[in-house]
C-alpha cells in the first residue's frame, strides 16, 4: 500500500462512458457505469463476452486501445482523478498503485527473457539493483508459492506450465505493492486444479496485502468464491449489483437469473432436463438502446420495458437492479422445457470396446507414455466423460480412437464388435465416418477459406456418400438439425459467432451418421449461455440418433451433465472408471476426490477443500509405484511408492486403482460425500 491513510474508496467510477471508434463512428461500449470499490474490498464483475468487462479494466489504467476514448464521467483511484493526471503522474500511478493481470500470462511475460531478468527489471526501475533486486525477486516468487524460485528464475516463460506462468505474472503484478489489483479472467486458461490453486493464492494474498481487487470473470462460481460484492454488466451497463451471496442466491434481474440457470447445477444430468439458455444476442456496440437493453431477450418484457429505460432501482442493503419488475425477476419463464423423457436404460452390446491401449512418444530419447494400458467400453447412446488435468492424456486417447495417431502394438479398439485398424488410412469408409470429432477451437477446425455450404456439402459427399439433389435435401436437414438456417450457408466461418461456428462443426461431425463423436472441450471457448445451447444440442442429437460421445472437458459440472460413464486419467493411466453417478458421488479415487473438491462452487460451501500440491510429474519420468503418490493427500505409506495399484472392481462396473480398499475409502470420504457435490 502506498499510503495507509488514503481515501476510503480505492476506485470510484462515476457515470463512466467509453466508446470505440469503428468505421468513423464512435460506438458506445460503456454507458454511465457507476461503481465503487472500497479499500480492501474484492469486487467481481461478470457478464457475457463482449459486455464491456475488459473495457472497464482498461479504462481504469487508461490503457484503452487507440480507437477507444472516455466520452464521459470520471475515474478516481485512491481519490485522485485519473483523467486529470498528466502523463508523468499517470505513469507513476500505474507503476505505484495499480497492477493488472490478464487472462493470458503469455502476454505479460516476455518470451525471450529469463524469468529472473524480467522480475529484477521491475525493481531496477525503482532503483534497486544487483543482489538486492535478485533477493527481492526471489522473495516475490516465494510469495506466490513457487517452490524452487532459484531454478524458476533461470528459466524462460515457455519452460513453465500455464499455472506457473500465471503465478509469475501475479508476482510481477504484486512487485510494486499495488493498492488496487485488477484481475481480468486470470484463471480462464487454466485447468480446474491449477485454477483452484491460483484462486487460493489470490485469496491469501488479499488477506496479506489488503489490496482492493477488481475481479473480472465469466465464471460465476469463481467470482462467488472470490468476491465480497459483485456487479453484473450487460451491454455496457451495470444491471445488478449487491453482496455476492445475495446476488447469486436471490438474483433480482432477469439477466442474472438467466445466467445462473445456464449452468448445470446440483449434479444436473441430461436425462433430467435441458439446460436453460438465453435466447438472442447481446446488442452490438454502439447499438441504439431505447427502453431496457435486455428487453429483446427477456421473457418478462412488457410494453413499458420497450419504451421506458429502467433506472437502477435501489433495493436497499447495497442492492441495485436495473429492471422495472425486479421483485418478479425470478418468475422468468424457462426457454426450454425443464424435463425431457428419460431415455430407457440400454442393454445393447457395446459400440466401442478398447482393450489395453498404449501410446509411447519419444521425448529427448526417452520414452514418454502418453497413454498407458487404457481399457474402456461404451454402449450406444452413452457418453464417456474423460477428466484429468492437462497432460493426462485425454487428447492423445481421443486421437488414438480417431486413428489420427497410431497406438503402440498390442491393445485393440473394437467398433461394434469389429476391430478398427490403428491407422486411419487403413480403415474402411464406413469405419471412418463412424468415428468423428468436434474440435475445441472452431477457428482451427473450419477452413477459413471455405463457405459453410462448401464445408458441409463436402462432408456429406465424402462421409454420407451423397451427391446432387439428395445431397441438397440432406444438407437442409443437417443445417436445421443444428438450428442454423439457409442464410448461414453462404457465409465464411469468420462471419459467424463462436457458438454458431461450433454448430457448423457439430453438423459436419454428424454428416455421415456417426456412431461415436469425440467432443474435445467443445464449449470451453464459449460463454455460459452459448455453452448451454451447445450442450442441449448435443444431448438432443444423442437422444435422437443413439450416437455415443467421448466427451472431454475440464469443467466437471459440464462433464457430469452429459456423461453416463467417467474415466479419470492421470499421467496417461486410468485411475478410476465407472458410471458417472458412482464416480461423482463417491467413494472415489483420491485423485478424483481432489479434482472434485477443486471445483469452485456457486453457493460458497467452503468444504474442507483438498489441494493438490506441486506440479504434475513429467510423463517422461513418472513416479514409481502409484503415479499419483507424489501428490496424493491420502497416501498410506511405502507401498504407494513401490507397487503400482491394480484397477479393481469396487462395485459392478466401477473400478478404482488405489491401494486403499474400497470400504476404507468409503469410511475416509464419508463426511465429504455431500460436500463434494458440485454446486
Amino acid at each position: 500500500m502506498t499510503e495507509p491513510s488514503h481515501a476510503a474508496n480505492s476506485l470510484e467510477l462515476k457515470d463512466l462512458s467509453v466508446a470505440y471508434r469503428v468505421g468513423r463512428r464512435n460506438r458506445a461500449v460503456l454507458r454511465n457505469v457507476n461503481l465503487t470499490i472500497k479499500a480492501g474490498e474484492a469486487y467481481g464483475l461478470v457478464g457475457e463476452s463482449g459486455c464491456g468487462k475488459s473495457t472497464v479494466a482498461l479504462s481504469v489504467v487508461r490503457y484503452l486501445p487507440r480507437n477507444g476514448s472516455i466520452t464521459g464521467g470520471s475515474i478516481a483511484l485512491d481519490g485522485k482523478d485519473v483523467m486529470k493526471l498528466d502523463s508523468e503522474a499517470l505513469r507513476r500511478a500505474r507503476a505505484d498503485s495499480v497492477s493488472m493481470v490478464y487472462q493470458d500470462p503469455g502476454k505479460a511475460l516476455n518470451p525471450s527473457l529469463r524469468i529472473g531478468r524480467q522480475l529484477t527489471e521491475i525493481f531496477e526501475l525503482s532503483g534497486i539493483t544487483g543482489q538486492a533486486a535478485t533477493d527481492k525477486a526471489t522473495a516475490m516468487l516465494n510469495r506466490v508459492r513457487i517452490s524452487d524460485p532459484v531454478s524458476v528464475m533461470q528459466r524462460y516463460p515457455h519452460q513453465l506450465s500455464g499455472g506457473m506462468q500465471q503465478r509469475v505474472a501475479i508476482a510481477m503484478a504484486l512487485a510494486n505493492d499495488p493498492s488496487m489489483l485488477i484481475l481480468d479472467e486470470p484463471t480462464t486458461g487454466l485447468d480446474a486444479t491449477v485454477e483452484a490453486e491460483v484462486l487460493d493464492l489470490i485469496g491469501q494474498l488479499r488477506r496479506e496485502l489488503s489490496a482492493s481487487i477488481l475481479f473480472i470473470s465469466h465464471n460465476l462460481a469463481v467470482v462467488s468464491n472470490m468476491c465480497d460484492r459483485v456487479g453484473v454488466l450487460y451491454a455496457g451497463m451495470l444491471v445488478e449489483e449487491g453482496w455476492t451471496k445475495d446476488v447469486f442466491n436471490d438474483p433480482r434481474h432477469p439477466y442474472t437469473v438467466a445466467l445462473l440457470r445456464c449452468l448445470p447445477r446440483g449434479g444436473q444430468r441430461k436425462d433430467q432436463g435441458r439446460l436453460d439458455t438465453i435466447p438472442g444476442f447481446l446488442p452490438g456496440i454502439g447499438a441504439n438502446i431505447v427502453g431496457c437493453a435486455f428487453a429483446d431477450r427477456c421473457a418478462l418484457a412488457t410494453e413499458r420495458c420497450r419504451t421506458e429505460p429502467p433506472p437502477l432501482y435501489d433495493l436497499g442493503d447495497g442492492r441495485l437492479s436495473r429492471c422495472h419488475y425486479h421483485d418478479n425477476a425470478q418468475a422468468l419463464p424457462r426457454t426450454t422445457p425443464a424435463d425431457v423423457p428419460a431415455a430407457p436404460p440400454k442393454h445393447a452390446p457395446p459400440v466401442l470396446q478398447v482393450e489395453g491401449l498404449n501410446k509411447t512418444y519419444a521425448s529427448h530419447g526417452h520414452p514418454l507414455r502418453a497413454v498407458k494400458d487404457v481399457s474402456v467400453s461404451l454402449r450406444p447412446g452413452e457418453t464417456l466423460g474423460l477428466v484429468g488435468e492437462s497432460g493426462s492424456g485425454k487428447t492423445t486417447f481421443a486421437r488414438l480412437l480417431l486413428g489420427l495417431v497410431a497406438p503402440d502394438d498390442g491393445g485393440s479398439i473394437e467398433l461394434e464388435g469389429k476391430k478398427l485398424a490403428p491407422r486411419l488410412a487403413s480403415r474402411t469408409e464406413d469405419q471412418v465416418k463412424a468415428v468423428q470429432i468436434v474440435f475445441q477451437n472452431p477457428d482451427s477446425a473450419l477452413n477459413r477459406s471455405h463457405s459453410i455450404r462448401h464445408i458441409l456439402s463436402r462432408a456429406l459427399k465424402r462421409l454420407g456418400g451423397l451427391s446432387g439433389k439428395t445431397l441438397d435435401t440432406r444438407l437442409e436437414e443437417l443445417v436445421r438439425s443444428v438450428r442454423l438456417t439457409d442464410r448461414h450457408l453462404a457465409v465464411k466461418p469468420r462471419q459467424l459467432s463462436g457458438g454458431l461456428k461450433q454448430r457448423v462443426a457439430i453438423a459436419r461431425a454428424f454428416a455421415g451418421d456417426p456412431r461415436i463423436v469425440v467432443c474435445d472441450e467443445p464449449t470451453s471457448a464459449l460463454d455460459v449461455s452459448v455453452q448451454a445451447a451447445i450442450l442441449n444440442l448435443l444431448a438432443d442429437l444423442q437422444s435422437r440418433q443413439d450416437v455415443s460421445y467421448i466427451f472431454i472437458s475440464h469443467d466437471l459440472g459440464v462433464v457430469r451433465y452429459l456423461s453416463d460413464k467417467i474415466a479419470v486419467l492421470y499421467l496417461g493411466r486410468i485411475m478410476e472408471f465407472g458410471p458417472s453417478e458412482a464416480v461423482f458421488s463417491g467413494p472415489h479415487h483420491p485423485y478424483t476426490e481432489a479434482l472434485l473438491s477443486a471445483v469452485p462452487k456457486l453457493d460458497r460451501t467452503e468444504s474442507s477443500r483438498i489441494r493438490l500440491d506441486g506440479e504434475i510429474p513429467s510423463a517422461a519420468n513418472p513416479p514409481t509405484g502409484c503415479v499419483f503418490h507424489t501428490r496424493c493427500p491420502r497416501k498410506i505409506g511405502a507401498i504407494c511408492e513401490t507397487q503400482e495399484p491394480q484397477l479393481t472392481e469396487a462395485q459392478p462396473g466401477h473400478t478404482i486403482g488405489c491401494h486403499i480398499p474400497y470400504a476404507e475409502l468409503a469410511r475416509l470420504q464419508a463426511p465429504k460425500i455431500t460436500a463434494a457435490e458440485p454446486a
Binding site: 431477450r297 480417431l402 470429432i437 477446425a445 465424402r462 438432443d540
Partner: protein, 296 residues
C-alpha cells in the same frame, strides 16, 4: 437426423454478420490507402502502358536508323538524343519496356506455379520428402542465376523462352521455401485433421484445403520476386544471353552503348539505366505495399 419438431431448446441464431469487411476487402482497403503501394503502382502502370501502346505514340520508329544524325545530344527533336545508329533514344526507351515486361512477369508466374506446387508437397508430406527436396533446393539456390543461365543457354540456345524458363526455375525454390513454411503452420490446424477424417486424398487436402489459406504469403513473395526477375532479365540481356537484337530492350541497349560513355555520349546509356531502375523501384514499392497490407 431428420426431426425438426423436437423441443426448440436453442435460441434463433442471429443473422450472419455480413457487414464486416472480408479479409480481401480489408487488404484492398489498406492498399488503396498506402502511399507506397500507389506510387509503385503508378510507376508500374506507366511502363505497362508504354509496353502496350508505346509503339503508337512515340515520335520515331525505335528501330529506324538515321546515320547522319547519329549521336546527337538531347535536344528538342530528340529529347533523349540519338544512339550511334541515329535511332531516337526516347522512342527506344519507351518501347524498350515491352520485352522485359513480357519476359519478367512470365518468369515470375512460372516460378510461382512451380514453387507453390513444390512448397505444398514438401510442406504437406514433410519427413523424408522434405529433407531430400529441401537439401536439393538449398544447393540449387546457392548457384548464381548467371551460371545456371549460361549452362541453360549453352544447352538450349538463346531465346526469350530460355530466359523465362531459366529465371522461373531458379526463383521457384525461393517461393517453394516460403510456401513450405506457411504450409507447415497450416497443416497443424484442425481442418486438415478433419479432412483426414473424411479420407480426403493428398491432392485435395493440399490444393483445395490448404492452398487458399497460403495465398497471402505467396502473393507477397511473388511481387518481391517480380522485382528480382526484372533485374535478372536486364542483366542477362546486358550480358548478351537474354533478349536479342534488334529489340530496343534496355539491358541490350546499355550493353551495346556503354562503350560510348568514355566518349561523353552519356545519353545513350543513362536513360535506359534510369528506366530499369524506375521499374525495379516501382515493383519494389508495390511489393512493400502488398507486404504491409497483408501483415497489418
Amino acid at each position: 437426423m431428420s426431426a425438426t419438431d423436437t423441443p426448440a431448446s436453442l435460441p434463433a441464431p442471429a443473422a450472419p454478420d455480413s457487414a464486416r469487411r472480408s479479409p480481401w476487402g480489408e487488404v484492398l482497403h489498406s492498399l488503396s490507402r498506402s502511399g507506397t503501394f500507389l506510387t509503385g503502382l503508378f510507376i508500374l502502370l506507366f511502363w505497362v502502358v508504354c509496353a502496350l501502346f508505346g509503339q503508337n505514340f512515340v515520335p520515331y520508329d525505335p528501330l529506324a536508323s538515321d546515320i547522319i544524325n547519329a549521336l546527337t545530344p538531347p535536344a528538342a527533336d530528340h529529347w533523349f538524343g540519338t544512339d550511334q545508329l541515329g535511332r531516337d533514344v526516347f522512342s527506344r526507351v519507351i518501347v524498350g519496356s515491352r520485352d522485359i515486361l513480357t519476359v519478367a512477369p512470365l518468369a515470375t508466374i512460372l516460378a510461382t506455379i512451380a514453387g507453390t506446387a513444390l512448397g505444398l508437397v514438401i510442406g504437406y508430406f514433410r519427413g523424408i520428402v522434405d529433407d531430400i527436396v529441401s537439401r536439393v533446393l538449398e544447393a540449387f539456390m546457392a548457384i548464381p542465376v548467371v551460371i545456371i543461365a549460361l549452362l541453360a543457354i549453352v544447352a538450349l540456345g538463346t531465346s526469350k523462352i530460355t530466359v523465362i524458363v531459366v529465371i522461373g526455375l531458379s526463383f521457384a525454390p525461393i517461393i517453394a521455401r516460403t510456401v513450405r513454411s506457411a504450409v507447415l503452420a497450416e497443416r497443424e490446424l484442425d481442418y486438415v485433421a478433419a479432412a483426414k477424417l473424411r479420407h480426403e486424398g493428398a491432392l485435395h487436402t493440399m490444393f483445395v484445403e490448404i492452398l487458399p489459406n497460403v495465398i497471402p504469403p505467396i502473393l507477397v513473395e511473388t511481387t518481391v520476386r517480380l522485382g528480382y526477375a526484372i533485374f535478372a532479365v536486364a542483366t542477362l540481356s546486358f550480358m548478351g544471353f537474354g533478349i536479342q537484337p534488334p529489340s530496343p530492350d534496355w539491358g541490350l541497349s546499355i550493353s551495346s552503348n556503354y562503350g560510348m560513355i568514355g566518349g561523353g555520349f552519356w545519353w545513350t546509356v543513362l536513360f535506359d539505366a534510369l528506366a530499369i531502375a524506375s521499374l525495379v523501384i516501382g515493383v519494389n514499392l508495390v511489393a512493400d505495399g502488398v507486404h504491409g497490407a497483408f501483415n497489418d
